[in-house]
Structure formats: C-alpha cells, structure tokens
C-alpha cells in the first residue's frame, strides 16, 4: 500500500487515512467516528534489557508486528529529552523521571532493525541548543552508543534547527489546523516513511498530561518557533523555549506559515493542546510508545513544583493510533480519558485528546479501543489520587516552556 509513493504523498495519505473528516477542513468527526484500534499494554518493572526488549517485542507482535510497518523503510523516532540535561529531580537520573529511558529507545531501535528498518533516525530538539543530540545525552550521563549500536544505520539528529538539510520542510495540517495551518520543520520529519513517538508517561503543567501526542510539541524548531526565532527568516541557532506557541506574544518567523487567527485566545492552556493536535495532524504518528517504567508525578520536569516525586509504575504501552494509546495511558494513570476542561488532569486546560478526537485523529473512548496484553486495572498507577492528595494541579512555571 505504501509503495511507489513519494514520502510527501505518503505522509498526506497516512494523515488522510485516519479520517475523511480532514478533507472538509472542519470539526466533523466525533468520538464515534474517530478511528479505534488496538493498544498493547505490558507490565515492565525494570529497565533491564532482558525485561524491556521482550515486553516491547510482545507488544509490537500484539499490534500485528513491526515488519509490515517498517521493513525497508526509514523510521524516525521522536524521543523526549525535555529541559536541561543538568536538571534532575533530586538525585534521580533524568531517564528515571522525565527523559525517555535509553533502554527503551535502544530496545525499540533494536527491534525496528530486526524488523527490517533500512534507516533509523532518533530525533529530539534539545533545550536551546543546536549541539548534536549525542552531546546532549552525554551531559545527562546517558551513553548514546548504546542506542547507535542497537541496529544498523542508526543516527541522531537535532531537530531544533535546520540541521543537515538546506531548507525546512513544510508540513500541512490536513484538517486545516486549530492554530497553525502548517509548520516548517526540520527535514527529518518529512524524510521518513514511518514516524514513532516514544514518550514518558507524565503529567504536564500546561497540557494536563504529556504522552505520545504532547511529545510532538518538541518537533517544532526554536529557530522558527522559539523566543529567539528570527523575525523574517529562521535564526541560525535556537535560543530559549517555545514561548511564542505558549503565549502567542509574537508569530513564528515570517517565512513560516502564520497563525490562522491572531485574535484567538493567548492562553497557553488553550494554545498548547491545539498546537499539539495540529502537529500530530501534520506529522502523523504511526507507532506510539509510552514508557512509564519509572517516571515522576506532578509535572513534566523537576522545575514544575517542589511537590514532585519519582515513581515506578512499571508499565509500557504501544499502539498504532496515538489518541487511542494516550487514552489508555490516561486510564492507566487513573484519569478519565473522556475528561474535558475543568476535570483532572485538565483542570485549567483543554484536553489534547478531545481536540484530537474532534478532528478525527482517533477515539479516546475506551469502549471502542481494544486493549491487549495486561489489563488496565492490573497495571494502574494512580497519578490521579496522588494529584488529589497534593491538593493541586501542577503549577505553571514562568520561564520554562519547552
């Protein structure tokens, strides 16, 4: 089905295949129409490769196998390395709290390689730098060779700037977009046949939760969408975070597609969930992986509040639809995926899942999602109750905006 097409054709086809509602460019789909698929759920108590790799392999098999998805293909993997590599939650290594753990990345890379992936690119837009991702990982005390050596033809690329390409790739939002109609991104997000999001299971100060979709907020280059972005053209190097998406206090570089409606709300709790959905529409996720073997409560990184704790839910999820996968992950976290603004974890923000469902990206209705492997009740780790006990939702800190 995917052969004899250009990557751009296939990208559009993959996005459109999710729902015909895109073609209308309006909110047409609903929970009952949005695609529903399988989500695999596995208990995984440690990051021992002897436990992680079999757990992932089993989940991928339960989803129908990686071979037909990646054989002969270029695969791009967006990982989550949010915040500075020198910022830990207490003494905990970053990968035990808020970074995607390298053992999960390496095992995924290994399994993708074994399934015939021709080339594997591991992507991230590290905080305020154009340095190679490998260098960023080293500063976090993570060995990039463990990932590079997990399969053949593996490479990292920092997507926070132009990178190795001559120009940015423009990816359109098939639905027309809530906030942005299209994005100018690093070439790696176009130059791939299969796109994988490996997220850490976390709450989020602005978006309530950060799972496989919110992980894609970081695909935007700060040279275009950051506080140091050039006014007319992208800056050469990224600087700072993505304040302009959060606050809407200015537009992206003029060379890039601008906001649809500059009079729309300027609140980050309105803008961030919608921009995430726009991004996931523009750059569809073919394989969503969420790791919650070890993670943290109370926010996406240690800077959010002083009441955060390192926890060990011991769980991983994988699915071919990111909305379905995030919905199951929310339930594992003790939240109701059907929750809307005003209900935890969306006390102050819009639900990224609902917005995604509304444009037909996938359903969040658990009754329509087939959960295979472990049962949700068996692996539930109750973030919701911990959130209630803390007595507040994560605070939204000023200054640190991914």
């Amino acid at each position: 089905m995917l052969r004899n097409h250009t990557r751009r054709d296939w990208l559009c086809a993959a996005a459109s295949a999710v729902s015909g509602a895109y073609l209308a460019g309006t909110r047409l789909a609903s929970a009952t129409e949005a695609p529903a698929g399988r989500v695999a759920l596995a208990r995984c108590k440690t990051y021992d490769p002897g436990e992680v790799t079999p757990a992932l392999r089993k989940m991928f098999d339960q989803l129908g196998g990686l071979g037909k998805l990646v054989n002969g293909k270029t695969v791009a993997i967006k990982i989550n390395l949010t915040g500075s590599p020198t910022y830990r939650l207490g003494y905990e290594p970053l990968e035990n709290t808020h970074y995607t753990h390298p053992a999960v990345i390496a095992a995924t890379v290994q399994l993708l390689g074994m399934a015939g992936a021709r080339r594997i690119r591991v992507l991230e837009s590290p905080w305020a730098t154009a340095d190679p991702v490998e260098e960023y990982l080293l500063q976090a005390n993570i060995e990039p060779r463990d990932i590079l050596g997990a399969a053949r033809n593996v490479e990292f690329e920092n997507t926070n700037y132009l990178g190795f390409a001559k120009k940015y790739s423009r990816l359109k939002v098939p639905s027309g977009g809530y906030v942005f109609p299209a994005f100018d991104l690093n070439h790696s997000y176009e130059d791939c046949d299969v796109f994988v999001s490996i997220a850490k299971m976390k709450e989020h100060a602005t978006a309530g939760i950060t799972l496989s979709m919110k992980n894609c907020f970081g695909i935007t280059p700060c040279t275009v969408y950051g506080e140091g972005a050039g006014v007319d053209e992208p800056s050469i190097l990224p600087k700072g975070g993505r304040d302009l998406i959060h606050a809407g206090n200015r537009g992206p570089s003029k060379s890039a597609p601008q906001e649809k409606d500059p009079k729309s709300p300027r609140q980050d709790t309105w803008r961030v969930p919608r921009t995430v959905v726009d991004l996931v529409g523009a750059r569809p996720i073919h394989l969503a992986i969420i790791e919650g073997v070890k993670t943290m409560t109370g926010g996406e990184g240690p800077w959010v509040s002083p009441y955060q704790t390192a926890v060990e839910p011991g769980v991983m999820l994988a699915g071919l639809n990111p909305v379905n996968t995030d919905a199951v992950a929310m339930s594992v976290m003790g939240f109701d995926p059907m929750a809307d603004r005003g209900t935890p974890p969306f006390e102050q923000c819009d639900s990224t899942l609902k917005l995604a469902e509304d444009v037909g990206l996938g359903t969040r209705d658990l009754k329509r999602i087939e959960v295979i492997g472990a049962r949700i009740a068996e692996v539930r780790f109750d973030f919701a109750t911990l959130r209630k006990r803390r007595g507040s939702m994560p605070e939204r800190p000023l200054g640190m905006r991914g």
């Binding site: 915040g83 500075s84 020198t86 910022y87 830990r88 207490g90 003494y91 905080w127 305020a128 154009a130 340095d131 190679p132 490998e134 260098e135 080293l138 500063q139 005390n141 700072g240 975070g241 800077w303 800190p397 200054g399 640190m400």
Partner: protein, 399 residues
C-alpha cells in the same frame, strides 16, 4: 585586606589578630597612623592601597558571583546564568608569571545584596585557583563591624573562617590543573581579547583546560590532553606547528583558526557545523571555516568537538557553578574544587568526576572532613551526591 576608610580606631585590629589576614592596605593619611602602628606591633604587615609588596602582583578582577541581567531579560530556570569569576585570570597570570603571587582586587559593588556567603565565594573563587582575594568589605558590613554589631560580626567570622580554611590547605595551590583542552596563545596584543575571553568562557562551557603560553611549549605540554585550541591571529612558528602536529599524529585533536592553513589528511565528519575536519595520523584537525570572532562560540564549539564524553566534571542541580580539577605533584591525590556562585548552596546536587579513585572525601568551610559522601562508581568516573552544602566544596580523591 583593604582597610575600610571608616576604621580609624586601631582597636578593630583585635578582630584581625589571629586570622590569616596578614597584610593590610591602609589608606594614606595621618588619621590611620595609629592603625598602622598598632598593626605593626601585632606583626601584621602594612602597605599603601594599590601597591603590592615584592613578589606579588595585584590584578584587577571582578566581584565573583552571578551577574544578574540589567535589562530584565535573563536565563530561564534551566538556562545557564552568567557568572563572574576571577579564576581564569589568576590562572593566566600564574601561567605567564609563575614566580609572582596573585592578589585579586575585586571589591563588592555598592548597593548590592551581600551576605556572609558572598564573601565565602569571593575568597574561594581566588584561593582555589591559586590567588588571594583582597578582603574588601562592603560599607554596611564595615560599619557594623566597627560598632561590633552582631550580624556584621557573624559575616566577619564567616569570612575569616573561609580564609583560615584555605590557609590550612595552602598546599593545594601547588596542585596542577587537569584539563582536556590546551589553549595555546601568546595571550597578548591582537590576541589578548579573544584569548582572555576564551579562557573566561571555557569555564562557562564546562570545559577544563590548561593554559599553554606559546613560548613555553615543551615535550610535556600536551600530556593527557585530548585537544589543543589555536586561535592566534598569526601563524604558529615552524617549531610550534611541528609540536602540535606531533600531538595530532599521536591521537590529539587540533581546533584551529583558518590562519593555521590547510592540513594534509583525509576528510572526516565534523560533529559541528563551521569546521572542516581532517584525519591526520591517529588524530584530527578541525579547521574553522571563518576567522573566529566570538570567543563564546569558540568555547562552545570546542566543547562539542572534544565531546562531552570526556567531561572531567559534570554537575546536576548545581545552578551557577564552576569546577577546577587539580592533581597533586605526586599524582596520588586529586582535588576538585566545586564552586556554587548563587546566593545559597545547591540542594540535591550531584557531581560526576572523571577518573578512577579508591576514596572520596569532601571538605567545606563548615565541615572540614565529610567522609560519608554517597558515592556511585561509574566505570571511568565516580558520581558523588552532595549533601546540602554552602557555596564551596572540595572533593579530595585518592588515586
């Protein structure tokens, strides 16, 4: 110590007596005659302000600490704040004039927030790098001490305790800097601005360096280094070129400005845009495409070209920090000085020190011997979880 203008009563000298403060720069004028005279009776040397005694050079430094932005903009919680440190300047002067001791004139700025720990960091910043900060009190503290106000006396106690700590550990100044990169320059003339700023900014980039004055390069200059940086505006002498290329042939990395000229080798990939990398012998030469004008970029690029894999010290949760890694002359003990320039010491900070060591101890002004540090060996390094500490910790590591 820079004697405060307001201290005309020689009785204040009782506070100085018995402290490591052994030289007073007393203002001119007959109103200080009694101070001079009493100081000499106490065995404390006295000199004129701004005039160093023989064998000592007074260098103009800055007040060490975090420099807060004046325009309202600044780094976010995870950004790296700007730190003023005199460490690089002391090290440079010691490298250029090893026979002359360095005193640093960097008084506290007027109308700024200064507490006891500000003085701790001021003294430690110089002492760890082999210099001495000329004690200069801010006006409110000086006034408070003169009238024996308790709060100001507490500051004085902290200040003198810090000076005493470094007096006890005077031998540490004989320890040699350990670095991964060597900075080769004449550090003068057209090269002064760039080379001086580069040294200043290497610390910000977290890169440990050794200062290599061009005219003192010997067979051992490049020992244990992974890279050498050459940015002078003029070509190296044939002999210096030969020595550096010998280092490259043996596996080193040369990062050079275009003035170095083309190097015969085979093309290699560059981890950093803006450099053409050639494999030469067992090593590499990274030749910049353009004449370097920004020392900040050069320092940051050097850190990547060398690779953070070889970081000698990595910090977590340290805030505005610097480190200085030194080795004893007999190479049996390393001392890694950890300096935290924020207004208070770090909480839950971790530091990773490269090297294989069998024992690690910590010492601070408050706790001269911390034996029970939480240590985690990590192959070619050791990770140390620091307890709640003030702005300075020395890690003593036994080989």
């Amino acid at each position: 110590m820079q004697w405060p203008e307001g201290w005309k009563d020689p009785g204040v000298l009782d506070l100085v007596k018995g402290t490591p403060i052994d030289y007073l720069l007393v203002p001119n004028g007959p109103e200080f005659d009694a101070v001079r005279s009493h100081a000499q009776q106490l065995g404390i040397e006295v000199g004129d302000p701004g005039r160093a005694p023989g064998g000592i050079e007074i260098v103009k430094g800055s007040w060490p600490g975090v420099q807060w932005p004046t325009n309202g903009a600044g780094a976010g919680p995870t950004g790296v704040p700007w730190v003023n440190s005199n460490g690089w300047l002391i090290r440079l002067n010691r490298a250029l004039h090893p026979e002359i001791a360095q005193w640093v004139d960097g008084p506290p700025p007027a109308k700024s927030f200064i507490d006891a720990d500000s003085y701790l960091i001021a003294i430690a910043d110089s002492a760890t790098h082999g210099g001495r900060w000329i004690v200069a009190l801010d006006e409110p503290v000086a006034k408070g001490i003169a009238v024996r106000e308790a709060k100001s006396l507490a500051v004085w106690k902290r200040l003198t305790a810090t000076a005493a700590f470094f007096a006890v550990h005077k031998t540490w100044t004989d320890y040699s800097p350990v670095g991964v990169a060597g900075i080769v320059s004449d550090f003068t003339g057209d090269n002064e601005f760039f080379s001086h700023e580069l040294l200043n900014l290497m610390g910000r980039a977290g890169l440990h360096y050794r200062i290599l004055p061009k005219d003192r390069i010997s067979a051992t200059s490049f020992e244990s280094l992974r890279a050498v940086s050459y940015t002078d505006a003029t070509s190296p002498s044939p002999e210096l070129r030969r020595q550096i290329l010998q280092f490259v042939q043996a596996g080193g990395l040369l990062i050079a400005a275009p003035i170095w000229g083309e190097v015969a080798g085979s093309p290699a990939s560059s981890p950093q845009p803006g450099y053409k990398v050639q494999a030469v012998g067992k090593g590499r030469v990274a030749l910049a495409d353009d004449v370097p004008t920004d020392p900040y970029s050069w320092a940051a690029d050097t850190a990547v070209l060398v690779s953070h894999r070889y970081d000698l010290v990595r910090f977590w949760n340290s805030g505005a920090s610097r480190s200085f890694y030194t080795m004893s002359p007999d190479r049996k003990q390393a001392v890694v000085h950890l300096l935290f320039y924020a207004e208070r010491g770090p909480d839950s900070a971790t530091v990773r020190v490269a090297g294989r060591y069998r024992a690690v101890r910590g010492s601070t002004v408050d706790a001269p011997k911390i034996e029970d540090l939480a240590i985690q060996p990590q192959g070619d390094g050791v990770e140390v979880r620091l307890p709640q500490v003030s702005q300075y910790v020395a890690l003593e590591l036994d080989v």
